[in-house]
Subunit: 360 residues, 2 copies
Amino acid sequence: MSIQTLKEEVARQFGTPAVVIDLDVMERNIARLQALCEAAGVANRPHIKTHKSPVIASMQRDAGARGITCQKLGEAEIMAEAGLDDILISYNILGEEKLDRLGRLLQQAKVTVAADNPTVVAGLPRAAAMAGRDLNVVVECDTGRKRAGVETVAEAVALAKDIASRPGLTFAGFMLYPPENAMTETQAFLDAATAGVRDLGLEPQMVSSGGTPNLANLGRIRGVTEHRSGTSIFNDRMMLAAGVAQLEDCALTVYSTVVSRAGAERGILDAGSKTLTSDTGGLEGHGLILEHPQAKIARFAEEHGFLDLSACNDRPQVGDVVRIIPNHVCVVVNMVDRLVTVRDGAIVGELPVAARGRLT
Amino acid sequence: MSIQTLKEEVARQFGTPAVVIDLDVMERNIARLQALCEAAGVANRPHIKTHKSPVIASMQRDAGARGITCQKLGEAEIMAEAGLDDILISYNILGEEKLDRLGRLLQQAKVTVAADNPTVVAGLPRAAAMAGRDLNVVVECDTGRKRAGVETVAEAVALAKDIASRPGLTFAGFMLYPPENAMTETQAFLDAATAGVRDLGLEPQMVSSGGTPNLANLGRIRGVTEHRSGTSIFNDRMMLAAGVAQLEDCALTVYSTVVSRAGAERGILDAGSKTLTSDTGGLEGHGLILEHPQAKIARFAEEHGFLDLSACNDRPQVGDVVRIIPNHVCVVVNMVDRLVTVRDGAIVGELPVAARGRLT
């Protein structure tokens, strides 16, 4: 089927905007991530926040992934129900409601959680007690990104000691999300933290690094045992801009119809901030239109994508269906209940985004 | 119940982040919008894109609204199924899949659609033919906002003539979304377009204006018969900034837990861009924290809201639950499947966001 026919067929069957996955590209991305991890001697623990699909997570596991990473407890619950059984929740879990759910989850699956402060650690034994099973806890360390994580080696060691002292908790190791240009600093932090916990008789069995751009650094930090990559399953305009993906690695496009041309140098897509989201990822414009790369998705209303066509010689017409690579793919998947799947230029079916909307 | 107890109870029952509606405030907002429209002698046609709930739409109708406005066909389908029966879809509808659905919708409810170009008008008779019933079409006019809509009176009149010439279509009038500071220009456009269509023997039965900030201009454009307001049902930080709502008019808050303090001047909320969205609405920061108004929600990861606490004397602690008025409420409601409802400081229940995710 030609791409023109495929676009017409997707629009006819599903309407636009539609979030479409090329399964061939996705499967190549799954294989590539696994191969990169194996070449570096690091286990693969893909982050499912990007796809939120137990079907895709199972494909990643079957390709060789050690386990998966979830950002939210609700995501982990969906994955465990589907039989995924080695889950890192890379997030501070707090509050009775979540701790009770964590306890029930721990009865179903092997679970590791992250913590970066003593308040979180103090709550976790409740979950372990409910499960009647030890809970693995890694200390989240911030080696320069200024995100979550303890900022000093002393805090990391103190938190490891705190974890090890709590009933039902096992100190499992460290979780990192190193800035791409801070390998030396991260190595120094990890070495010192490792020495610190060994002085206490503790051993970091698991050291997790993360980030799709950091795939370029895989194997550069001694002691890392596994890696979390989410975006590489689909890739996006941010990954293109970072040089870690090529156009042919982008598995997800948003099919959108040009619904108006407004002025001569303007156009309007039926995909606005409720489809493509306002996440810019620090880039100019809100997506790459494959058919009109010179067109700029300049701004959004909720259901309008406003095109600046002034630099565009070949301008789209009302009714044209175009394909957009979004700036940030993780938040786009999160807007829809189902992904349309295609292969070899033909529609395969639909794939539920089962953990979408699991905010808690 | 004290607000502290309510926050704890919401967190205990639903977990955080939770999107919470104060029903008393919402009901006041419904009554106020209706009263404003009646005082101006303009019919009320609230835009349901903000709440996406047939329950709330029915409350608006029961308070006196003439009908409702939807931005997407999928929203209109949900509303019609629930018995809402006078629906304006303020959007260009294109393509066989949507036109067939529009035809089926027209069999169920009185429907008016907007069009701003001849390609859209040419498609619409398909829907009317399927329904066996006339379809009302309004010409969307752009009087300066540079959004959707014809930009000239000549185009507006030509499109009205085109509509009137098509089988099954009725030219119903004009749809405006005037810039708040362009009342004079909008009046001139509307007067000229009205004269133009009258010369053709056509009469604009319906002239719809829109926007919550334009409630301050209600009644100022002669000829307007009804008004579309969405955001006023809940209000948000943009409406506070625009001076059209006060804190006590904000019916929606996001309850979020502080999950980390990271550095001394930093903090992390469990609400990130997958909850509060990256829509800034042109404002600095991503929301107003009622308990810590000096705290700035400086940036997001998907599930982290990063707080800059440097200007904040009273700093939140890990585990605190805070209430956030988001910058743009319409996109926040769209992230969740259910709203938590409260009244008099006590939990009432949950309200489904039935039309969420209806992108097409």
